[in-house]
């Protein structure tokens, strides 16, 4: 938890990351930046999916529609916050010459997406007219 707070402080303090270790080859930093952008695109896609569920499935019952939309929006928020946190951690690990941090987040996100997809299938099969 303390580690997380220190990371959050680094999000806003650009000089903080440069304090420890030495600057890696700029190509590694650019690769890290592209990974960050890919996660941000995933987050934006989840958010867009939340809007799309709300807009393009008007026949669903209110509870299902709003629940799915909010779940997708919340997943988007989590994904984008995790994107910047992981970027900072990777950047610092590269500067210190440590191993890159491992993360359970991809597995978690896959499970959430799978659950939402199954829920959608059930909703379309069972509750379409409801």
């Amino acid at each position: 938890m303390i580690e997380f707070v220190r990371n959050v402080r680094l999000w806003f303090a650009p000089a903080g990351v440069r304090q420890d270790g030495e600057t890696p080859d700029y190509r590694f930093s650019l690769a890290n930046e592209r990974t960050f952008l890919a996660w941000l695109r995933t987050a934006l896609a989840l958010i867009g999916g939340g809007f799309a569920v709300d807009q393009f499935l008007p026949d669903l019952r209110w509870g299902w529609r709003v629940g799915l939309a909010l779940a997708l929006l919340a997943a988007g928020v989590l994904c984008s916050l995790r994107a910047v946190n992981h970027w900072v951690r990777c950047e610092r690990a590269m500067r210190r010459g440590e191993d890159l941090p491992v993360s359970r987040f991809p597995a978690l996100l896959s499970l959430v997406v799978a659950v939402v997809a199954v829920a959608m299938v059930l909703v379309v099969l069972v509750g379409w007219e409801g």
């Binding site: 303090a13 952008l37 941000l40 934006l44 958010i47 867009g48 807009q55 709003v66 984008s80 994107a83």
Partner: protein, 111 residues
């Protein structure tokens, strides 16, 4: 394909085209952001333009412009010759906060 072809003509240019790839990744991300913003505006203005809907719509447009601003600055840095400067955590945070704020705005609209 001779050996001479593999030698880059411009010594400043990275043979792996890393700055270009990163620039295009930013471009793709702004496109994703645009799609989300368009869907947000559609949600906001769905079923007549109420005051809350117009405010949410304007907020989403401002957030989209903020994201575009961050992306534009970074794209210009990456387009400059030579090895580009590192990406500042402040800008990463700004881009993420725009995304999060858009999701929060969306949650308000959906409810």
């Amino acid at each position: 394909m001779s050996a001479a072809d593999s030698v880059p003509r411009n010594p400043d240019r990275d043979p792996g085209l890393q700055p270009e790839r990163t620039r295009l990744a930013w471009r793709r991300t702004t496109l994703s952001g645009t799609v989300s913003a368009v869907l947000a505006v559609k949600t906001a203005l769905h079923g007549g333009a109420s005051v809350a809907g117009v405010v949410a719509c304007a907020l989403c447009c401002v957030l989209w412009l903020g994201f575009l601003g961050v992306a534009h600055r970074r794209i210009r840095t990456l387009s400059a010759p030579g090895s580009p400067a590192a990406f500042a955590p402040r800008h990463a945070t700004a881009a993420v906060l725009c995304t999060v704020a858009m999701a929060v705005c969306g949650a308000g609209l959906v409810l």
